[in-house]
Amino acid sequence: MMVPVLGVLTFVCAIGNIWPMNGGAFALPPDQWLPENISEAGGVIDTLFMFILYLTGAIFVGTSGALFVFMWKFDAARNNEPVKFTHGSHTLEIVWSILPAATLLFLAIYQMNAWAEAKLDRPTEEINGHEVPKPPLVEVTGRQFEWRIRYAGHDGMIGTPDDLHTVNDLHIPVNEEIVIAIKSQDVLHSFFLPNLRIKQDVVPGMKQYVWFQANKKGTYDVVCAELCGWGHYKMRGRLTVESRQKFDRWLEQQFAEQERSEFTPVAGDEDE
C-alpha cells in the first residue's frame, strides 16, 4: 500500500542525504562539507569527524535498513503469518549491549590524544636548558563587538609600552607553532578560527591559551561563537597567514604607524 512506497521513499531520501557525495539535494561535494583546513592539528579533527561519519553512517544504514525491511515484511496487510510471540532474547540483549559499548569505548579512547593535543599540551620551548611554556605571540581580547589584538613589541613581552595594538586584524606567520593568549574584556565571547579548527570561549577574569600551526597562506575568518549581545553577528575579524618576512614587515609597518609623530597636511582638497 502506501507504506511500502513511503518506506522506500524515505530510505532513498535518507541515503541521499547521509551521503551528499551521491548528490542529495543541494549536496556539497565532499571536500566542501568541512571548510578548508589549514592546520596540522585540524587534520586530526577532520579525520575523526569523517571516521565517526562513516561509522554512524554504517550504523544508520543497518538500523534503518532493518526498520524498513521489517516494515515491509511484517505489514499486516500482506503478512499472514502468526505473530512471533516472544518477550525478548537474553542473548541478543547481551550482544547488542556489549558491541555498542565496546565501539563507544574504543571511540572514547581513540580520541583522547587529539583532545589532549588541542587543549592540554601547550607547546613548550627550551630557554636556558629549561622547558618553559612557549610565550604567546599575540593576545586577543574579545569585546562587544570586536577583537582587540595586541602583539608583543621588540622586548617580546605583551603588556609593555612597545606593544602593537590592532583591531580585528590578526596576522600570523605560516608554518610556525603559534600560541595565542585569549581574554575577554566584558562578556563571554568565543574565539573561533574555522579554518584552523580552533575554538575556545573567552571568559572575563580568565586568561587562556590556544595554539596551532598554520600551513597555508591566505586570509581567513575570525568568528565569535558565543552569544555576546545584539552585535554578535558582526564580530568579524580577519586572519592573515603570511610568510615570516611579510609578517615581520607588517609588524614593523604597523608599529611605525602607531609611533607616528609627524604629520603634514595634504595640499589642496580631496572633494570632487
Binding site: V3, T56, F85, D186, P204, V223
Partner: protein, 600 residues
C-alpha cells in the same frame, strides 16, 4: 485504591449547573483528566507561538534584512519592516524558551502524564489532586510573565535560553538585559515550581496507588517513562531554580555570583565581583541536561506502547527497556559538562564528561534495537499513531547518532555552537519527541474525547510533516559541518559562510511548509473533538488498563475496581484466541493467575 465509583460522581454532576460548579469542574478542576486537557490545550497553543518565532528566525537567515511581507511593517515599523539585530536575539531566545518550557515538557509530563498515569495504573485520580491543580495554575504566571516579556521594550529577553552571564547578569550588557530578562527569569522560576509540584505527585501516585496486581514490572513503558522523568525533575529542577535566583540577585541586588572582579561592560562597572561566569553554566546545565532526557523519556515510553499495540506483539525486552530508561536518566546526571567542553572549564574534566557521554549512547542504542525487535515478526498495522511512532524510531536514530559527533570532544571543538548542534537537538526533540507526541495524541484522542481523529488526514499530516522536517533540519548538519555558527543574525558576510544562503532559503521554505501542515492537524483535532465518529472503550484493541475505562472516563475513571493479572504487552498471547489480552482480564480457568508466560 479506588474508593469512589462513577455513580457517585455522576450524581454530583447532575446536581450542578451553577457558575461556581462550572468553575470547579472545568476551570479549577482537581480531576487529573481535566488538568491534563488544560495542559494539552495550553501547550498546543504555545506550540503555535513557538513555531511562528522559529519562522521569524528562518526568515532572517534566508533573507537577512529584508522586510517580512505583511507582518514586517506591522511589527517592525521602526526598523523599516525588517528584523533588527536585537529582535533576532529575542527570536531565538523566546523560540527555545517557549518550546522547551511551555511546549515539550508540559505536554509530556503535564498533558500526557496527568491524563494517563492514574488510568494506566488503575487509580481513580492522582495522589494529590489539589497539588495537581496548582501545578497547572502555576504555569499561568509563567505564561503571563513570558508573554509580557514580548511587549516590554526591547520586546523580549534576548540572551539565549541559556542566559549565560555576564551578558544576562548585567543590565548594561545588552538591550535584552533590561527588564525583559528579569521577567524571563521569574517566568522560568514559576515553570520550575509547577514541574516540581507535578513530579512529586507523579512519583507518589505511581508508587502508592497502583491497582492490585500491578507490580512495578507490569507497568506500561509510558508509566516507566513518566516515573523516571518525575525523578529527574525532582532532583534537577531545584538547581535551576537556585541558579535563577542567583542571577536575579546579581541583576537586582548587586551580588556578584557570576561576575568577576572589576568587570566593566559597556562602560559600566559591575556592582560587585568575585564571581565566576562558569558557575552559571555548571548549575544551568546540571538541570538542563536531565531536562533533555525529561523531554524524551516519556515519549520513548509512549512509543513503546504504541508500537507494541500496532505490531500485536509484546515489547521486545521489557526489563532491558526499563533498565535502559533508568540508565539514560542516571547517566544523564553526570554528563552536563559536555555542553561546556570549550567553555574554559578544565579540559581534564572534559575528558571525564566525554567518557560518560559516550556511555549514554549505549542504553539509547539498546532501546532502538528493542523497538526493532518489537516490530520483527509482528503484524504491523500502519495507523497514524504507528506511523508517527516508527518515524520516531528512525529519526531518533539520526538524532542519537549525530550526538556521537559532539561527544567526541575534538570534533566538538569545531561543531560547538554551530548548526550541527541545532540539527542534533531538533532531530531528537522535534523529529523525535514531537512526532511521538503527535502519535500519542492520535492514539489517546479516542480515550480523551470519545471520538476518533480522521486517520486519512492523519496520514497526510504525517507524510507532509515528515518530508518538511527533514528538509528543514537535515541540512543543518551540513551547515554545522561548515562551521555555520548559531545565533548569528547575518552570517553571509563571512567568507566561510557566504555561499550558504541558498541552502538556508530551501530550509526556510520547508519550515514554512511544515508549519502550514500543522493546520491540517489543528483542523482534524478541533473537528474530531466535536464531530468525529464516536467510539467505544477500546477502538485500538489495546491491552492497557486505560482502555477498559469508558471513553472518555468519568470522574473516578473506572466503573469497577481493576485487578491486574499480567503485564501490558500480552498481544498475540497463545493463552487466548484474541490477538490481545488486557491486563485486567482474568485468565481462563486452566491457567494460573500471575503465572503467565511473560514471567512477571
Amino acid at each position: 485504591m479506588s474508593s469512589t465509583t462513577v455513580d457517585e460522581h455522576a450524581h454530583e454532576r447532575a446536581s450542578g449547573g451553577s457558575l461556581g460548579h462550572f468553575i470547579t469542574t472545568y476551570v479549577f478542576s482537581r480531576d487529573h483528566k481535566v488538568i491534563g486537557m488544560q495542559f494539552l490545550f495550553s501547550t498546543l497553543l504555545w506550540f503555535l507561538v513557538g513555531g511562528l518565532l522559529a519562522l521569524g528566525i528562518r526568515w532572517q537567515l534566508a533573507w537577512p534584512w529584508h522586510g517580512m511581507p505583511v507582518i514586517g511593517p506591522m511589527l517592525f515599523s521602526g526598523e523599516g519592516g525588517q528584523i533588527s539585530p536585537e529582535f533576532y536575539t529575542t527570536l531565538f531566545t523566546m523560540h527555545a524558551t517557549v518550546m522547551i518550557f511551555f511546549v515539550i515538557i508540559p505536554i509530556l509530563a503535564g498533558a500526557f502524564g496527568n491524563f494517563l498515569i492514574p488510568l494506566m495504573i488503575g487509580a481513580d485520580d492522582m495522589a494529590f489532586p489539589t497539588l495537581n491543580m496548582l501545578s497547572y495554575w502555576f504555569m499561568w504566571p509563567a505564561f503571563i510573565l513570558i508573554g509580557i516579556c514580548f511587549f516590554w521594550p526591547p520586546y523580549g529577553a534576548g540572551n539565549g535560553w541559556t542566559s549565560y552571564p555576564p551578558l544576562s547578569a548585567m543590565i548594561e550588557a545588552s538591550p535584552s538585559s533590561l527588564n525583559a530578562q528579569t521577567i524571563w527569569l521569574m517566568g522560568i522560576t514559576f515553570v520550575g515550581v509547577s514541574s516540581m509540584l507535578g513530579s512529586v505527585n507523579y512519583m507518589t501516585t505511581i508508587i502508592q496507588m497502583r491497582a492490585p496486581g500491578m507490580t512495578m514490572f507490569r507497568l506500561p513503558m509510558t508509566i516507566w517513562g513518566m516515573f523516571i522523568t518525575a525523578i529527574l525533575q525532582a532532583f534537577a529542577l531545584p538547581v535551576l531554580t537556585a541558579a535563577g535566583f542567583m542571577q536575579l540577585m546579581d541583576r537586582l541586588l548587586g551580588t556578584g555570583f557570576f561576575l568577576p572582579e572589576g568587570l566593566i561592560v559597556n562602560n559600566s562597572l559591575a556592582a560587585s565581583g568575585g564571581g565566576q561566569p562558569l558557575l552559571w553554566q555548571h548549575l544551568f546545565w546540571f538541570y538542563s541536561h536531565p531536562a533533555v532526557y525529561i523531554m524524551i523519556l516519556p515519549a520513548m515510553g509512549m512509543v513503546s506502547d504504541i508500537i507494541s499495540c500496532f505490531s500485536r506483539k509484546p515489547v521486545f525486552g521489557y526489563k532491558p527497556m526499563v533498565y535502559a530508561i533508568s540508565g539514560i536518566a542516571g547517566l544523564g546526571f553526570i554528563v552536563w559538562g559536555h555542553h561546556m567542553f570549550v567553555s574554559g572549564m578544565n579540559p581534564i574534566l572534559g575528558m571525564t564528561f566525554m567518557v560518560a557521554t559516550m556511555m549514554i549512547a549505549l542504553p539509547s542504542a539498546v532501546k532502538v534495537f528493542n523497538w526493532l525487535g518489537t516490530i520483527w515478526g509482528g503484524q504491523l498495522y500502519f495507523t497514524t499513531p504507528m506511523l508517527f511512532s516508527l518515524s520516531f524510531v528512525a529519526m531518533f536514530i539520526i538524532g542519537g547518532l549525530s550526538g556521537i559527533f559532539m561527544a567526541a570532544t575534538p570534533v566538538d571543538i569545531f561543531i560547538h555552537d554551530t548548526y550541527y548542534i541545532v540539527a542534533h537537538f531538533h532531530y531528537v526533540l522535534f523529529a523525535g519527541t514531537a512526532m511521538a507526541v503527535f502519535g500519542a495524541i492520535y492514539f489517546w484522542f479516542p480515550k480523551m474525547f470519545g471520538r476518533m481523529m480522521n486517520d486519512s488526514l492523519g496520514k497526510v499530516h504525517f507524510l507532509l510533516t515528515f518530508i518538511f522536517l527533514n528538509g528543514t533540519f537535515y541540512f543543518m548538519h551540513i551547515l554545522g559541518a561548515r562551521g555555520f555558527p548559531r545565533r548569528l543574525a547575518d552570517p553571509y558576510d563571512y567568507e566561510t559562510f557566504s555561499n550558504l544562503q541558498p541552502m538556508n532559503q530551501f530550509m526556510t521554505i520547508c519550515a514554512i511548509g511544515m508549519v502550514a501542515t500543522q493546520v491540517i492537524f489543528a483542523a482534524n483535532f478541533i473537528y474530531s473533538m466535536f464531530w468525529g465518529p464516536t467510539v467505544g472503550r477500546n477502538p485500538w484493541r489495546a491491552n492497557g488498563l486505560e482502555w477498559t475505562a469508558p471513553s472518555p472516563p468519568g470522574h473516578g475513571n473506572f466503573d469497577f475496581q481493576p485487578i491486574v493479572y499480567r503485564g501490558p504487552y500480552e498481544y498475540g498471547s497463545p493463552e487466548v484466541d484474541a490477538d490481545y489480552y488486557p491486563q485486567n482480564q482474568p485468565p481462563p480457568d486452566d491457567v494460573e493467575p500471575g503465572a503467565s508466560s511473560s514471567g512477571h
